[in-house]
Amino acid sequence: MSSNNQTTVIVRTVVRSVVPIIVLVAIGLLLQGHNFPGGGFIGGVLTVTAFALVYITYGAEYLSQNLLGISDGSVARRETQDVLDPDEAFFSGTVGRYSAVFGLGLALAAGGGLGAIAFGEPFLSQAVLYFDHIPVFGVIELASALIFDLGVYFVVVGSLLTILAVVGNE
C-alpha cells in the first residue's frame, strides 16, 4: 500500500500499544504450547499479524526502516530500479531477511531432529527433562521438542512475512 496512509490517530495509538501485547502473547503461546493451547504454528501466525498491523497502519517503510532497522533496497525498489539490479535489491532487502528467517527455522527443526540421532534415537525423536520439587518454580519441564517448535515458529513467521512483504511491495 502507498506510504501516504490515511489511518486515523486512534488507530495509530491503539496499534502502538497493542502490537507489543500481541507479540508477547504470541511468544507466550509458543512457549506454553507443550502443555496448554498454543505452539509454533499459532505463535508464528500471531506474530505475523502484529507485523501486519504495523504494516497496515504505518506502511512498509516504517516497518522495515524504523522498526526492524533495515536500510532497504526493496521498499525503495521502484526508485532504484534504474541504478541497481532490481533482483539484487529485492533479495538484499527486507524480503531477503524474511526468507533467511524461514531458512533458519527449517535448519532448527531439522538440526533438532538430527540431535536425536547423536543419542542413537531415530530422527526427530524428542525427550523431556522433568525436575520435580524445585524451590520457587515447583516443577520445571524442559522439552527438546521446544527446539523443533521454535523451528516451526520461525518457518511460519519467515514464510508468511515473506509472502506479505512480496505482495505488499507490489
Binding site: 493451547p37 504454528f41 509472502i163 505482495v167 507490489e170
Partner: protein
C-alpha cells in the same frame, strides 16, 4: 453418531464452493477453493468427534475419558497454515496472470491461447 446438521451444512458449503470454482472469474475460483478447503477442515474435525472435551489432559494421563480426537486436530492445524500458503500462491498467480494477459476471464484466456 450421525451428524445430520453437519452433513447438510457441509453439503451446502461444498455446493457453493463448487459453483464458484466453475465461474469465469479467477478470483472467484480462488474463493471457491478456499470455501471447499474450509469445509474439508470442518469435515475432518467432525470425524474426530465434536462432543468430547478438549484434548488437553493433566499430568499422569488422568481424565481422558472422552476427549476429541487429537490426531485430526493436529492434521487440520497444519492444513490451515498450509491453506494460507496455497491461497497466497493462488492469489499471486492470479495477479501475475492479470499482469501478463491483462484479463481475469478464464474463457477469454482459453480463446486467446487457441488463436495464437
Amino acid at each position: 453418531m450421525t451428524e445430520v446438521v453437519l452433513a447438510i451444512v457441509l453439503g451446502a458449503l461444498y455446493a457453493l464452493g463448487t459453483f464458484l470454482v466453475l465461474r469465469r472469474d479467477v478470483v472467484r475460483v480462488v474463493w471457491g477453493v478456499t470455501i471447499i478447503s474450509q469445509a474439508t477442515n470442518v469435515y475432518l474435525v467432525t470425524m474426530g468427534g465434536i462432543h468430547g472435551s478438549i484434548p488437553i489432559v493433566s499430568h499422569g494421563g488422568g481424565g481422558h475419558h472422552a476427549v476429541t480426537d487429537p490426531l485430526v486436530q493436529a492434521l487440520v492445524l497444519t492444513a490451515i497454515v498450509i491453506g494460507f500458503g496455497t491461497t497466497a500462491l493462488a492469489l499471486v498467480l492470479t495477479y501475475r496472470l492479470y499482469q501478463e494477459h491483462g484479463t481475469l476471464d478464464l474463457q477469454e484466456l482459453a480463446t486467446t491461447e487457441e488463436s495464437q
